[in-house]
Symmetry: C2
């Protein structure tokens, strides 16, 4: 009997800035026989995240870098194809850090979640019903504490996290302003995600557009970019504003740390705060977030867009593509029938 | 009967950066007769604050700028010399925003505080028992939430706020690191204010000294300076660190906003926060703070130093002197017998 063949996307060399196709290679290797307590997951969707740049970086980061030669770290969603753990039935839909590969051999503790909402598409489990949705939910609601009538500004507003933040803020009765790049994404913010205003940071008159959209000031800034976009937003903070630092997508390297306008005076005069967070610190929040998110999806109050690449051969270039802005919506790679 | 003569220090022209003697003039004017409900305060001590630079600035600030020709805004401590308000007895010791002048005609609502602790020196009411002590108490305890064993770093550590922050942190069981300028103030931090370590930001090896003093990382950074001092401290933040933005003394102008290393990545990776505050927003906290501070002063657990100029003629240059670092301890001007 031939063993199953597992295609794996492995890290070939360490990127100094944005990971490119050349930093990866695809290798075929047999799937090992399961030991007692192990589970074989057939990955169906692989995730592609901006945060992967950080996971691959050797300098100051919030997780250990992926070792050279290892399978690329990634969220994935799939089905249990074989199980030697009675708690994990064959056929279960599961998510976890299963990596960029066809098959993952894992133990029950490595399964992040057995998906209960079988009425929702499996792909959603990696975006709006996964880490992106939970990140938006926690950051906005727990750290931002939005009040009805407040103005919430979101950077990367058409992205997987940003679009979710905007819609959740709207559900709290806030006025929402999205910042995104280009007219297509700007229209998506308005038409698909219901932002009250959307501003193109690539436009020559970006700062004026932003000032007009934020005429009443900014109460919450959900920041996924850092850089000049944030510099512009910070000039509009209201008293008591909350700035939530979720990502730094606009900064291509933090070694050395790039310069920008100092923030202390804004924070002092406006009695404002900036708070960084990493969602993996808050697993106790996930269950409540999944429940809210699923309900909002079912009622049509929470929309999401996916940008699905077909075939594992697209994985090596997929992160670079994110940073080029190729995608519209949450980027996934489908590697088997869902 | 000759009226009382009131010497007033008035704003002559608006400073673009640090206020100098030439921006003020001393004018003599008669004290008006009291109306019903008014109180005449004989100022004894006038305060000199780093924040006065901000009160005089026309650009982005946390209070309306002092108008040209007006008496310089200032905390003062004095005695009620005449009263047409039965709630304010003659002889009461009071503090308030009475301005740089001999006499203030005010209503009861303008009196910040009738001083109860007559066992403590009147001058203390403008420093450790005034806005400086309350600022340290609120910022450190309410925003910093220090835990026993944590490391607290304070900039302007030998100053009126900083020295108080260090001692209160020590009373909470924290390890304290003071940052100050010059060997004299560094010794004061160690010998007078009990810091566990003190670092001279003017030393050529400041960054190495700081790294050695913060080998276990920084849990709370109480920032009174901004600028390169803060840039150095932020590289040592521990996970979950709290940065309290209380002042920006090291930055001579915020117009235009000066550049510095971006902070977002520190905040994200370390799940850290930066929070600005202005103590005037928190009057509900004052009573509890006064009670703690008075008790710690009486037991000798909270020490303070004063730098008292004798005579109102020293007022015009007094702010510039602060920024030159002339003073050791809280700067006051005594203009009458206490």
């Amino acid at each position: 009997m031939n063993p199953l063949i597992n295609r794996q996307v492995r890290l070939r060399s360490r990127p100094l800035a944005i990971p490119q196709a050349e930093h990866f290679e695809i290798v075929q290797t047999p799937v090992p026989v399961l030991d007692e307590g192990q589970v074989l997951v057939r990955n169906v969707f692989l995730s592609v995240e901006p945060a992967m740049r950080g996971w691959l970086s050797a300098v100051g980061n919030y997780s250990e870098p992926v070792p050279i030669g290892a399978v690329m770290r990634s969220f994935a969603a799939g089905r249990v194809q074989a199980s030697r753990d009675s708690a994990v039935p064959v056929g279960a839909w599961v998510t976890g850090m299963f990596g960029w590969q066809d098959y993952a051999v894992v133990r029950a503790g490595e399964i992040q979640r057995q998906i209960g909402e079988r009425d929702l598409p499996l792909s959603a489990a990696l975006g709006v019903m996964g880490i992106n949705g939970v990140t938006a939910h926690y950051g906005l609601l727990q750290l931002g504490r939005p009040q009805k009538g407040e103005t919430v500004v979101v950077s990367t507003a058409a992205g997987a996290v940003g679009s979710c933040v905007g819609q959740i803020a709207k559900l709290q009765g806030c006025r929402t302003v999205g910042i995104t790049g280009g007219e297509t994404k700007r229209r998506m913010c308005l038409d698909a995600f219901g932002f009250d205003a959307a501003v193109d940071y690539k436009a020559a008159d970006f700062e004026q557009q932003l000032a007009a959209a934020c005429a009443g000031g900014v109460d919450i800034y959900y920041d996924n970019t850092s850089g000049p976009i944030s510099d512009a937003v910070l000039t509009h903070l209201n008293r008591g504003a909350r700035v939530i630092i979720c990502g730094t997508a606009s900064v291509s390297s933090w070694d050395p740390i790039p310069s920008g306008p100092r923030v202390e005076r804004h924070l002092l005069i406006k009695r404002a705060s900036m708070q960084g967070f990493v969602i993996f610190d808050h697993p106790e929040h996930y269950a409540a977030a999944y429940q809210d998110l699923a309900q909002w999806i079912r009622t049509g109050q929470l929309r999401y867009l996916e940008d699905i690449l077909l075939g594992i051969e697209h994985a090596p270039d997929a992160i670079a593509g994110l940073y080029r802005g190729d995608n519209l919506g949450k980027r996934l790679i489908r590697i088997a029938q869902d």
